[in-house]
């Protein structure tokens, strides 16, 4: 089916997720949609699949305008979407997941459906056991289930949102073969990804989104450099780097391993010196989040050793590492960092408790006033944190940190902030480095990583690069590594042990 999007606009609050996007995809095409996190790819696809409504714009299928107000409309129009985290029902069986959404009779007709499932699966070379429970499947198998399910429902346009995240190489090969087969059957495939290699290897054509705009198109043969430039913007200007004087080794990780249900991060070795800044680069969900939380003592490690200033912190809770000078600043400020419903004074009192039973409110307010002034927070001691803007919330989080810290772990310290706030926050962080605090931070902003880090760890699908000198890197090289290009076949074993 021929798909055409005309002038799609969508804003969330102040964020312009899609601005006037026009896209035409003929039937039988594998269309790549490339862009970094937050570029607007997922929003555009959710609009097409009826999950959200566009503020403006039209969708045409085979040249006819269609109205898609809900996923039900999209399914009826023949559009199916595979979400990045497969939207299925983990505690239920494969066959039940398969038959659920199809309307019609009261009883699902499992016997016939089972035959259809097997036939469709065989067509693509998928091995799906109809009686297995979905939570026992790998992410790759769950995708396979979604593909056959959508086809069974009669989908002629299939949208894949970051389908290669969290699946094995063999499963990826099988997925790509299936996608090519779909295109051969005259289905339209929309392939959303930030992985250059995948897009280059698979797609008949590619469009690139950046900050809500469709910024460019490309056809094979692709040049990686051109794609990277479109993704991250051409004019990448690196400000003056201010390397810090670094001291003795403070944080030492030996063979650290941590995993969740979809990703394993194995055997990370790292030695961080006092005052050093380590940037953790990688697309969201590549393992850097797991890694940070393991170092913070928020996730149980599955192996290895964490020590700080020679003190073993392996397996200790965050409350213990906090006592030894570790602080963790989460990316979701209102969900994890601050307590909605409490005001700034209350936050400072909470964070600064030194003992005693009664709260010295006068002192607390004075402290709040002082920090509000020092950190330039637009608010009063009585402001509730949920009423602050994102930038001010981030400043508040920084202001809440104790004075003497050994290790500061930050998730996206400047995400969603304006330039002024960003510069300000980094000036504050660098002050801390000067006092001997080591910093590990996760960011999806390559410029930020290169400008502020001394060394960089790149994460891709759970793989971790050895620490790379930021001064010897450039955005092109970093962008490729993040996109999974230019990684050696084998792990960087020698270098890593040499460094640890």
């Amino acid at each position: 089916m021929d798909v055409e999007l005309r002038d799609i606009h969508k804003t969330f609050g102040k964020v312009r997720a899609n601005v006037g996007i026009r896209l035409h995809v003929p039937a039988g095409t594998i269309q790549g949609i490339l862009g970094e996190n937050g570029a607007g790819k997922s929003t555009l696809m959710k609009v097409l699949s009826g999950f959200i409504h566009a503020d403006q714009g039209a969708i045409l299928l085979d040249g006819r305008p269609v109205v898609i107000h809900s996923p039900a409309d999209a399914i009826r129009a023949g559009i199916g979407m595979l979400h990045q985290d497969p939207l299925d029902f983990p505690p239920m069986r494969v066959i039940d997941n398969f038959v659920m959404a199809r309307g019609g009779s009261l009883f699902p007709g499992r016997a016939a459906a089972r035959r259809d499932l097997k036939k469709l699966a065989a067509q693509f070379g998928f091995a799906l056991d109809p009686d297995a429970y979905v939570d026992s499947l790998t992410v790759g198998e769950r995708q396979q289930l979604e593909i056959v399910r959508l086809l069974w429902l009669g989908a002629r346009v299939l949208i894949f949102d970051e389908p290669t995240t969290g699946i094995s190489a063999a499963q990826k090969e099988r997925l790509f073969a299936a996608l090519r087969l779909l295109a051969d059957q005259d289905k339209t495939v929309l392939f959303v990804s930030h992985k250059l290699e995948d897009v280059e290897g698979l797609c008949d054509r590619v469009v690139v989104l950046r900050q809500g705009y469709l910024v460019g198109e490309a056809r094979p043969p692709y040049t990686t450099r051109q794609l990277v430039e479109m993704m991250f913007g051409k004019a990448i200007s690196i400000g003056k780097r201010v390397p810090c004087a670094v001291g003795e080794t403070s944080l030492r990780l030996r063979n650290l391993s941590v995993e969740d249900y979809r990703l394993k991060v194995r055997g990370v070795n790292l030695a961080v010196r006092a005052g050093e800044v380590i940037g953790l680069a990688g697309m969201e969900g590549s393992g850097q989040g797991l890694f940070m939380r393991a170092v913070a003592g928020l996730l149980r490690t599955t192996g290895g050793r964490i020590s700080l200033d020679g003190r073993n912190l392996t397996g200790r809770s965050h409350l213990v590492s906090k006592r030894h000078g570790v602080a963790f600043l989460p990316a979701s400020r209102l969900e994890e960092g601050l307590v909605p419903g409490l005001d700034l004074t209350e936050h400072f009192v909470l964070a600064e408790k030194k003992g005693g039973f009664f709260i010295d409110w006068e002192g607390g307010r004075a402290l709040a006033e002082e920090r509000i002034a020092e950190f330039n927070i637009r608010g009063t001691p009585a402001s509730h944190v949920e009423a602050l803007s994102g930038g001010n919330q981030q400043r508040a989080l920084l202001a809440l940190l104790r004075v003497s810290l050994r290790l500061l772990l930050l998730e996206h310290p400047t995400r969603g902030l304006d330039i002024e706030s960003t510069i300000y926050i980094w000036s504050k962080l660098k002050e801390r480095c000067g006092q001997g605090t080591s910093i590990l931070f996760v960011s999806s902003d390559l410029e930020e990583i290169l400008q502020y880090s001394d060394r960089v760890l790149v994460f891709f699908n759970g793989r971790v690069s050895p620490p790379l000198e930021a001064a010897e890197m450039n955005t092109d090289r970093l962008g490729e590594l993040i996109g999974g290009k230019g990684w050696p076949e084998e792990e960087w074993v020698e270098e890593m042990t040499a460094d640890g």
Partner: protein
């Protein structure tokens, strides 16, 4: 200038809140009136009868005050667990266990020759211990057993009732056979001193006022109270800010049990002077209702609990005067809370504010 507009905005918000809450109150009264008309009862006379029953004579006023004291205590207890984001429905059982422990110590010591005041003090202390023990049981089930505090608490309520009945009909039965009227009353010197000629013990009121003051300062002025609030509002953030979360949840149960146990002890030493089957008199559940209405403000609980106590006492006369069941008071109380909740929901919807989930976010990951 900016400050002025902020202040006026705040005044406007308060004004809107007050008008919405009054609307809820009027609606509750309206619904109750319609219900009274539907059963053919004269609404005006019913309300008058409740008012007269609660405040008609010195004796009635004292009865209302007698009911006020334990209700204030249970409300204070529930406020503490509410602050930590917990639904301590087990408070009924905690009151009951307080009463049982008090009765136990009074029985044990009544022949001991100790001065009566000492026996009473020990009895009340025992009640506090009993309530706290029962509450910590619910707390341990919640923090270590993964049993939701609502279900653990309900189960423990039933066990407490069973224990009471067993004691009344078994080991502590009256000479001869046990009866639903409870254990044998204690001698008068073991009663908490009352105003001569009446049943009202000023000590009970004094203790409950102390509880209000304690909870008011605990929630407003102490590190512990602030940390409880942080745990209740956002457990994950509280943990990252350095608050040991499960320890605080357990402590809030324990403290709630202290107040509930005290309420139970007063029911024995000041009101019934014996153990009866329904010794908790529903003060736990009513306290939950009051706490839901006052929205964490301990001082507001003082008038609201008085109002609820007056409704309960005033409606006792309804069956005699108008042949209506006394449960009218419960209906009115419940409707009031329900409508306040619904009106609050409607206000948020109308003003399309950002909705903050009321349930504490689960945080298994950070609980280690």
């Amino acid at each position: 200038m900016a400050k002025n507009t902020a202040a006026s905005r705040r005044r406007k918000t308060i004004w809107i809140n007050v008008s919405f809450q009054s609307a809820a109150f009027v609606l509750a009264l309206l619904l109750t009136t319609v219900m009274l008309l539907a059963v053919g009862a004269p609404p005006f006379q019913a309300y008058r009868s409740i008012l007269v029953g609660a405040f008609g004579s010195v004796g009635d006023i004292f009865d209302t005050l007698i009911a006020w004291a334990p209700l204030l205590l249970t409300t204070m207890g529930v406020l503490i667990t509410f602050s930590a984001g917990l639904w301590n429905i087990g408070i009924e059982g905690q009151v009951t266990l307080g009463a049982i422990f008090t009765t136990w110590i009074l029985r044990l010591l009544q022949e001991s020759g100790l001065p009566p005041w000492l026996i009473i003090v020990l009895g009340i202390l025992a009640g506090i211990v009993g309530g706290a023990l029962w509450a910590s049981l619910a707390g341990v089930l919640k923090t270590f057993g993964g049993v939701n505090e609502i279900f653990g608490g309900l189960g423990l309520n039933f066990v407490a009732t069973a224990l009471t009945l067993w004691l009344i009909f078994g080991p502590w039965k009256r000479p001869g056979t046990g009866s639903m009227s409870g254990t044998l009353p204690f001698p008068e010197e073991l009663w908490l001193p009352a105003i001569p000629g009446f049943r009202l013990s000023p000590w009970a009121l004094v203790l409950s006022f102390i509880a209000v003051v304690v909870v008011y300062f605990l929630l407003r002025g102490t590190h512990f109270g602030l940390r409880l609030k942080a745990v209740g509002k956002n457990m994950r953030a509280a943990y990252l800010l350095g608050v040991p979360t499960w320890q605080h949840m357990l402590a809030s149960f324990l403290l709630c049990g202290v107040f509930a146990g005290l309420a139970g002890a007063l029911q024995v030493t000041a009101v019934y002077h014996r153990l009866i089957p329904s010794i908790s008199s529903n003060y736990g559940f009513t306290g939950l209702l009051v706490a839901m209405l006052v929205n964490f403000h301990a001082l507001w609980a003082v008038p609201v609990a008085l109002f609820f106590a007056a409704l309960n006492i005033g409606s006792v006369h309804l069956p005699i005067v108008l042949k209506l069941d006394s449960s009218l008071s419960g209906v009115l109380q419940g409707l009031l809370v329900l409508l306040v909740l619904m009106v609050e929901g409607a206000r948020q919807r109308l003003m399309s504010r950002k909705i903050i989930p009321a349930e504490p976010a689960s945080g298994e990951e950070v609980q280690s």
